[in-house]
Amino acid sequence: MKRNIIVITFLLIVLVAQGAFAADKKMAKLPFVYTDWKHYTVKDGLPNDHIFAVKAYGDKIWIGTEGGLACLDKKTGKIQTWTEADGLPWRVVSSIDINPKTGEIWLGLFGGGLARFSGGRFDHFHQMNSGLVNDVVYGVAIENDNVWVATTAGASRYNTITGEWSIYTEKNSPMEEIWNYSVTVSKEKVYLGVWGSGVLEFDIATEKWKDYLDPDGEMEIDLYRDDGIVHVITTGVSYVEDVLWITTYFGMSRYDGRHWRGLYADETGLPSDFGNAVKGRSKNEAWFGTDWGVGVCADFATDTWVTYTMLPETHKGQVIVSRNNKILEVFDTPKGIPHNNVLWVEFDDKDVWIGTSKGLVLAKGTGYYEGLKLREVHEPKKGEIKTYAPGK
């Protein structure tokens, strides 16, 4: 009996002590933060460290680089590469999309047109042998049986069944400038991000165009905020759950079909207003690749952001969680993005692949959750707070 009393008393003491200790930990509703990063560079078998495009498809990660095409087999971890010596028609692969029906891989070739990679065979389409409007290709996207190509001289649409090429320029669309930077598709629409002409929306059923321009004109400030796209020099566009996420050289935009919202570095967790690429994960979450790192709008409803940058001195990663422009968490990670010039973002279930000017990185999403969750707030160690956001 005495023994039992002693044991119970001990347990009570432990529990009370634990509670007292727990009460010291700070809890808050916070987003998931990626802390486990794996780098891939030429040392790992990539043909080049300038990563222009990444496409996750099944067990494979297709990677477009300045020096060729690569494919990472996630099962084996092996990387296979193709350069011009292997039949790749042009070495600079600037964009990738895969036809989900046929499994055919379509490659935008910067300066070399377009290629179809199917069953190990490259088919080359360029402005001399096909109806492609221009060989400087920035973006490619599959819409049903059509391949859309964003080029420096307009957009092309290739019907893979009939073989018909259509060209969209200022002649037949509201394309004030013809420098097409990106293209993305939804079930009913095709969106072009055009350098100097905002976002153009193509209705697949009616083949009618609609433009989204900056109501403030070409001013590099947003005179009346949230009145439209922040600027017409658009570099990226991503559509998910009825929401358009847009990057420009002067800030980012979100459009839900009714309301516009301008997103700027000085108001949010964006590391810079100079957007290179964007990928929306949901209507609530989007990842913006900028010239100074990645800004993740982790929970649009609460304006909660996660900023990932590389600390130049140590090459370690740094994470900043902020809400309404107030920092909630800051901490370093042993690895992060390998370079702050971020050119591409690709989701792979919970994982995220990021293409940068100095290699590819996998952000492992073990335990990822959407939106916010009550969790312990990361307390910085002494001397750890050293935010790096030179783009602001």
Partner: protein
């Protein structure tokens, strides 16, 4: 200040005029029809121009296409459609045949044949300014010259072959259709229609209203028969000199076409004014349907006419002798033979009498039902699938399929058979139990081979011309996706285990100019329905039949090794086209061997089958009517024992090696194509495509033991004989190849050849299609052969056969057969379809007369100048600036453009892989039409239009 404002005003005015004119879009002219022209161009004071046309053969040009010999002409032109539905035939037998519906006013009728606007251009924009010739010309009026007539009236062998008429004397022809306007011309009104005799009576609707139902073959071409009769000219003839003479004799004063007395028997309405006429009626139709059958306003509706008693009650008259005698009795003192006249104008309301044609079966490929009891045979010519009882070796049924059935396969449960219809772009679904064709699936261009996956859930159809593979969901019979094949996928098979299908591609990939061909085996992953791999087979083309060894270790592929880069003189060294087998190992490596022997080739290896014990392979040679029996153990041992060098360089070219593994040859009937071995390994069936039979081979004895008659005609027509000659290598040196070797399906093999006598690699030329070529002579890129007889006779003997030219009978039969090779329907513009926006814009580019900057393009440099419809060739040679290093000539024959999308590569030497390259790479000096000012989208539009031709 005033001066300042005046200056602004002047500048503004000038600017608005200049720019306004520049941007004022010229209205697109449309066809209005001869009757709109007749409003001015009729009557004595206008020289009876309209009546002269109406009484001419031009006005009957559409109608004559209903005659039986028009179909024969169409056949010799490779036109598979009915002549009145063929853009090719209508191109010269009607006006505006290549226009769209919106380009024809409702007053225009194509049934009027070759009418005013055919020569003078569509009239909507100049008809109102005809008083001023210059202004009218500016508005589009064309004053044709003889050269314009020649575009249609040039010699056409297809026509000569059928009607054997003497060559047209153009001077005489021009005189016969001359229709000058009198010096003192005056526009007068058309004669008035008669006043209604009884306003409550039926009204005339006009013969064109009757035509809507009574025009086609299902109604015996009744309208066309009337149009070719003198009844249809009855009004027109009142304008000729003889009519004036008769009128004078009969005391008619004035103009016969205005005389009620003349009009009473020369027009419908004056015969009996009845209740008057509707706007659709024209007096100029002469004696139309309603002259005998009564005014049709109450009975002409289709629903009433469908019931004879209703039609009769509504006023449809029964025609009796009395009906005719009203006008014909003692007309102008002539006797009237009623019986003879009735026969002349007979137009029975029955389907056109089908002229008994000799329709062969032409079996191509076969499949066994999964239970092994029945054999289904796809028969190209009879549009059917013939069912063979395997035990009795007898034909038990014939099931109708589509056009050109080519291959057949079964669902794994054996309940359904699927048949590819090459000319229809469809697959017929046959219910095996009822032997009925129960559904049709739309697929891609020219489907050949087809096969299901192991589960039967998916059907894979090879769209040969489209270089694609349709994946069909067999539950819904809908295409769910289209995969990219190699170049012209042909046949397919599945390995004994696994989830793959191997596809042969009959044409080489596009390779760099003057490099050897490389063909592809495409492998489909049937789990994910994607292309898994593409195996390249170097130095080959015409990869056709394929079969897997039961071990799954390798597949055999029938193939050609065409050395198209060497001069044809090497033919004498026996080294131009060799024929063999490809061995495709499961690790993706390949080997090749020849089935030829030094003195005796094995031309056109077409299909292959392997016995279930894996001992033997049987290969058909459609060019020599034989089967090669291959001992597979010997074959694999030989390959396994070879060094890498020997495997790559010696075995694929060594003609003596076949003696080591070909253990026997078995004779078949004409042109064996598909071959199949029963699962028990006892028998093989061979489809003798040009004998309408199956050869049955006893595998143990390696002997043909039976010939199954498929029931085709026993008579061998000249065309059939020619078809046999075409597919036989008997006349080629050492039987190396047949016409078919370079022209599979009568088309192209996609290669360029050095076939000239110089023997030093000069003047390589692209292979050209044989489909529908008869009227496009001269032949050869250099245009030196005026006829097919010369092309296939002396020329073939000199360059191909070397020692044994075709004899006269063979040559005539061969050329006749070649003429009948059908040109498939255009897949980019279905018959009668409107043009798409891009095609329409492309047509404008094709026909344009000015550059983008407004400069006039010289006539000779316009696309349409040399490529004018309906053949789209002027049949002469031009310097297009395409003379290259190896060419000895600079002037090349203008190729026709029909189905041009289906015959890459392009230009005389096949240097352009795509249509785009013709202009982006090989027209730097604008010699091949003025195109360098075109923007990229304009070039795309032009190409979209070209694809519709």
């Amino acid at each position: 200040m005033k001066k300042y404002f005046f200056g602004i005003f002047v500048i503004a005015t000038i600017t608005s005029v200049v720019f306004g004119a520049q941007y004022m879009r010229k209205r697109h002219p449309v066809y209005v029809g001869a009757r709109q022209c007749a409003k001015c161009h009729q009557g004595k004071s206008m020289g009876h121009q309209f009546s002269k046309w109406l009484d001419s053969k031009h006005a009957q040009a559409y109608a004559v296409l209903s005659k039986p010999n028009a179909k024969d002409i169409a056949m010799f032109s490779g036109v598979p459609e009915l002549p009145q539905e063929s853009a090719m035939c209508l191109g010269c037998h009607a006006t505006g045949a290549h226009s769209e519906g919106w380009e024809r006013d409702e007053t225009f009728f194509i049934e009027d044949g070759v009418q005013c606007e055919n020569c003078h251009g569509p009239g909507s924009e100049y008809i109102d300014v005809m008083g001023d010739r210059d202004q009218a010309i500016k508005a589009g009026l064309i004053m044709p010259i003889v050269a314009d007539c020649v575009k249609c009236h040039q010699r056409k062998d297809s026509h000569l072959k059928v009607h054997a008429l003497p060559a047209l004397n153009m001077d005489h022809a021009i005189k016969s259709i001359a229709h000058p306007i009198p010096d003192k011309w005056k526009i007068t009104r058309m004669p008035k229609r008669p006043e209604p005799a009884d306003p409550s009576a039926n009204q005339y609707v006009g013969t064109f209203a009757c035509e809507k139902c009574h025009g086609g073959p299902d109604k015996g071409y009744q309208f066309s028969k009337w149009r070719m009769s003198r009844h249809a000219n009855a009004y027109a003839v009142l304008g000729n000199a003889k009519a004036y003479e008769i009128a004078k004799q009969e005391g008619v004063k004035g103009i016969p076409q205005k005389s009620p007395k003349c009009l009473k028997c020369h027009t419908t309405a004056y015969t009996n004014p009845a209740g008057g006429s509707l706007d659709s009626y024209n007096l100029d139709e002469g004696v139309g349907c309603e002259a005998c059958h009564g005014p049709g306003s109450a009975y002409s509706q289709q629903a009433i006419m469908a019931d004879s008693s209703s039609a009769k009650a509504a006023g449809l008259k029964e025609v009796t002798k009395q009906t005719c005698m009203q006008c014909h009795e003692n007309a102008h003192g002539k006797t009237f033979d009623y019986a003879k006249a009735s026969e002349e104008i007979a137009h029975p309301l029955t389907s056109e009498k089908v002229v008994e044609k000799t329709i062969y079966k032409t079996p191509l490929n076969m499949a066994l039902t999964p239970n092994g009891k029945e054999l289904y045979v796809a028969c190209e010519a009879s549009k059917s699938v013939i069912v063979i009882d395997v035990r009795k070796l007898k034909k038990v049924d014939e099931i109708t399929a589509g056009s050109h059935p080519t291959d057949v396969t079964f669902s794994p449960d054996g309940t359904k058979a699927y048949v590819s219809n090459r000319l229809d772009d469809t697959v017929s679904v046959i219910d095996v139990l009822s032997r009925k064709n129960i559904a049709t699936i739309i697929v891609g261009d020219s489907p050949h081979g087809l096969l299901t996956d192991r589960t039967g859930k998916y059907l894979y159809v090879l769209n040969t011309t489209a270089d694609s593979i349709s994946v069909i969901d067999t539950a819904t019979l809908k295409e769910i996706k289209r995969l990219t094949a190699g170049h012209q996928p042909w046949s397919l098979t599945a390995p004994p285990k696994g989830n793959q299908i191997y596809v042969t591609n009959t044409l080489s990939d596009f390779v760099e100019f003057r490099t050897p061909p490389v063909s592809e085996i495409t492998i489909i992953d049937t789990i994910n329905n994607v292309i898994e791999d593409r195996i390249k087979v170097p130095g080959t083309n015409l990869l056709q039949g394929i079969a897997f060894h039961p071990s799954g270790d390798f597949a055999l592929v029938a193939l050609n090794r065409t050395k198209n880069l060497i001069p044809m003189t090497r033919l004498l060294q026996g080294w131009t086209i060799t024929n063999g087998l490809g061995i495709l190992y499961k690790d993706g490596t390949t080997a090749q061997v020849l089935l030829d022997e030094p003195g005796l080739y094995f031309p056109d290896p077409t299909d292959v089958a392997i016995t279930s014990d894996g001992r033997l392979a049987l290969v058909t040679s459609s060019g020599s009517n034989r089967i090669a029996v291959v001992d597979l153990k010997k074959l694999t041992s030989m390959i396994d024992g070879a060094t890498d060098y020997e495997r790559e360089h010696i075995l694929p070219n060594h003609m003596g090696k076949s003696l080591e593994f070909v253990t026997a040859h078995i004779e078949t009937k004409d042109s064996p194509r598909g071959i199949l071995i029963t699962p028990n390994g006892k028998y093989a069936f061979v489809a003798n495509s040009l004998d309408d039979s199956l050869t049955v081979i006893d595998i143990d004895k390696l002997q043909a033991i039976e010939t199954i008659d498929l029931g085709g005609p026993k008579v061998i027509t000249q065309i059939r004989y020619g078809e046999r000659v075409f597919h036989s290598a008997d006349n080629a040196f050492r039987r190396q190849f047949s016409c078919h070797s370079c022209h599979p399906d009568g088309h192209v093999n996609g290669l360029t050849f050095d076939i000239e006598p110089d023997g030093i690699g000069i003047a390589p030329v692209d292979n050209r299609t044989l489909r529908g070529i008869l009227d496009t002579n001269p032949f050869k890129w250099e245009g030196t052969n005026p006829s097919l007889q010369r092309q296939c006779g002396p020329r073939l003997a000199v360059f191909f056969t070397r020692i044994q030219p075709f004899d006269a009978e063979q040559l005539e039969a061969l050329t006749v057969y070649i003429c009948t090779i059908p040109r498939p329907p255009n897949r980019h513009r279905p018959l009668g379809a409107e043009l798409t926006g891009a095609q329409r814009r492309g047509k404008e580019v094709f026909e344009r007369a000015t550059t983008n900057s407004g400069n006039i393009i010289p006539q000779k440099d316009r696309c349409i100048n040399c490529h004018f419809p309906p053949l789209y060739t002027d049949r002469t040679r031009h310097d297009m600036g395409t003379q290259f290093e190896y060419d000895r000539e600079s002037h090349f024959d203008t190729p026709h453009l029909m189905n041009v999308y289906a015959s890459p590569p392009y230009l005389h030497n096949g240097i352009a892989d795509t249509l785009e390259e013709i202009w982006t790479l090989y027209n730097p000096e604008d010699k091949h039409g003025v195109t360098n000012d075109l923007t990229k989208d304009q070039l795309n539009d032009l190409i979209e239009f070209l694809k519709t031709l």
